[in-house]
């Protein structure tokens, strides 16, 4: 006998959905309204109608465009290096015999660290007067401050993010590797396949989906975070590390142009929704959350 009213499942979800809706839909609508307004903060918050002004401004804004370019470079390099080194880490750790679990535990330490601490630690290590890494680089013949040069600053902040999140890719890949059926690998060996041939034709096809999930999870976070850059270079030198979230934050809270910042935010949001879509689609292959 079915009772009238919402199902048990719906009633279970309702509290969470109500809270989530008020934390996401209301801000979302506010963001849209802000993007068509001049937002005044002095003497109480006021929205003044700006029609399409913020949006027009975006079209002509070369600074924002260059921030998008920086973001995409940052995005591609971070993800590329993290995927490549994460896979290598996982392959290495997977081949270790004794002490494998301990090694894996130690190797994932960075990802529990607050990004702000990672950034500060990065500054500490690369500080040209007292940093451990700066000292090592000096021995190798590199002088100067890594965070001061345009290219080196971007590479350094990318390096910090890579350091923190490569372990996640490694951990997920490792789980994928552990799930590859051993007989398959053994059969390949019997057939005379070398290590790399086995990887190419047996292992990688098996863990493809796992790798894709790792990539998407990292991609979603790579657009979200900006703590490390905020605390290390804050976008400099000469905008070299001014990825779009940093630009947005500066526009809103330094120049107090919240309306215009909202326009930038909406574009970021659109970008992240594409990512979320891809993520859900990949899951859909095996039937979303069953």
């Amino acid at each position: 006998m079915k009772r009238a009213g919402p199902s048990f499942e719906m009633r279970m979800m309702l509290p969470a959905l109500l809270v989530l809706a008020s934390l996401s839909l209301i801000p979302f609508v506010t963001l849209i309204v802000m993007s068509f307004s001049h937002v005044k903060l002095m003497g109480g918050i006021r929205f003044e109608n700006a029609a399409l002004e913020n949006w027009h401004r975006l079209i002509e804004d070369a600074d924002v465009r260059s921030s998008w370019v920086t973001s995409l470079v940052y995005f591609a390099l971070t993800l590329g290096v993290e995927m490549a080194s994460g896979i290598v880490f996982a392959l290495v750790l997977h081949r270790v015999g004794r002490g494998r679990n301990l090694l894996l535990a130690l190797a994932i330490v960075p990802m529990f660290m607050a990004p702000i601490v990672v950034g500060l630690l990065g500054r500490f290590l690369t500080d040209s007067t007292l940093g451990l890494y700066a000292w090592a680089l000096r021995i190798l013949g590199f002088e100067g401050d890594l965070l001061a040069g345009k290219t080196s600053a971007l590479l350094t902040v990318i390096g910090m993010d890579v350091w923190e999140w490569t372990p996640l890719v490694a951990l997920v890949t490792f789980a994928g590797l552990s799930a590859v059926p051993a007989p398959l690998v053994e059969a390949a060996a019997v057939d005379g396949a070398g290590y790399f041939q086995t990887l190419r034709y047996i292992v990688f096809p098996q863990i493809r989906r796992v790798l894709l999930v790792a990539l998407l999870v990292r991609a979603m976070d790579a657009i979200r975070f900006f703590d490390i850059i905020t605390i290390t270079t804050n976008g400099g030198p000469a905008d070299a590390t001014k990825i779009i979230p940093v630009r947005l934050y500066e526009t809103a809270f330094r120049f107090r142009e919240l309306g215009y910042a909202s326009v930038i935010g909406i574009l970021m949001l659109a970008f992240s929704i594409l990512m979320a879509n891809a993520f859900v689609r990949v899951l859909g292959e095996k039937g979303l959350t069953r």
Partner: protein, 276 residues
């Protein structure tokens, strides 16, 4: 024989390299926090020194008392985690068992709120919190953290609930349990690892947050990562205190994270990659 030996050697060397790359910075931070200041401020690294607790003491005493920051961090992260786990468990169960053609859309909406860029979320929340008087309050931070913890918790818990065999619940129903009783007394206890993992990860996410805290908090609600940010000033950086504070911020979360290591892959991929 010789070939496999050299392969093992190569693997060993590479593994060592991985460990040095990941652990050297953390180890250097922890070691530096026990160094006297002159031993930190040298152009070539000091390896031998007499350990001191002065930097830790400085963080409790006088000018740079971090205890209020620690309290704010604990409160905001703890409250947000508790709420996320509670609501997330109910919502996750509902989502796992809800069979409806809009399920896909609902699930997508939930995940998309988790993936929203923080910088873009801060803007409207800043305005709304200003209106509601939530700026510089623990409640505001708790809500802000909930905006990313709750969707995460719903997804993750739903992945854990989907793995509970339906027969368990059916048996309880046959024995006369209501659906709520079956959930509360039978299904929920079997997902304890899920609850703990969800809780730990939510705690880590909110404890580590800097963006929300720096936008919404004021003198009365600053958290530990903000205390760390404040140690960098125009006049230079007190690296002794900073490494000590970094150690304090980081160690509890490392231990918490490692404690749920078995379920981490499920957790960090929101259940997308389970044991299979």
């Amino acid at each position: 024989m010789r070939r496999s030996n050299s392969a093992a050697l190569l693997v060993g060397l590479l593994a060592l390299l991985v460990l040095v790359w990941t652990l050297a910075p953390v180890a250097w931070m922890v070691v530096s926090s026990f160094k006297p200041t002159p031993a930190i401020k040298t152009a070539s690294p000091t390896w031998l020194f007499e350990p001191t607790l002065e930097h830790y003491r400085d963080l409790i005493g006088a000018g740079n008392d971090v205890r209020p920051f620690a309290r704010n961090s604990l409160l905001a992260a703890g409250l947000s985690t508790a709420l996320a786990v509670g609501l997330g468990a109910l919502g996750g169960y509902g989502l796992a068992h809800w069979h409806h053609k809009s399920k896909k859309h609902l699930a997508f909406w939930i995940i998309s709120t988790r993936m929203a860029p923080i910088a873009a979320v801060i803007l409207p929340l800043f305005i709304l919190f200003r209106q509601l008087g939530l700026i510089d309050s623990i409640a505001g931070l708790t809500l802000a953290y909930l905006s990313f913890n709750l969707p995460f918790a719903i997804w993750l818990m739903s992945a854990f609930f989907a793995d509970v065999p339906p027969s368990l619940e059916e048996a309880a129903r046959v024995d006369g349990c209501s659906r709520w009783q079956a959930f509360w007394y039978v299904v929920l206890p079997t997902t304890t690892p899920g609850l703990v993992t969800t809780g730990v990860l939510c705690l880590v996410f909110s404890w580590n947050d800097y963006a929300f805290a720096s936008s919404f908090s004021g003198p009365g609600s600053q958290t530990l990562p903000m205390a760390a940010g404040r140690l960098i000033t125009q006049g230079g950086v007190d690296w002794g205190q900073l490494t000590a504070l970094g150690t304090i911020i980081v160690l509890p979360m490392i231990f918490a994270g490692l404690a749920v290591r078995r379920w981490l892959v499920t957790g960090l991929t929101m259940g997308a990659v389970t044991g299979e």
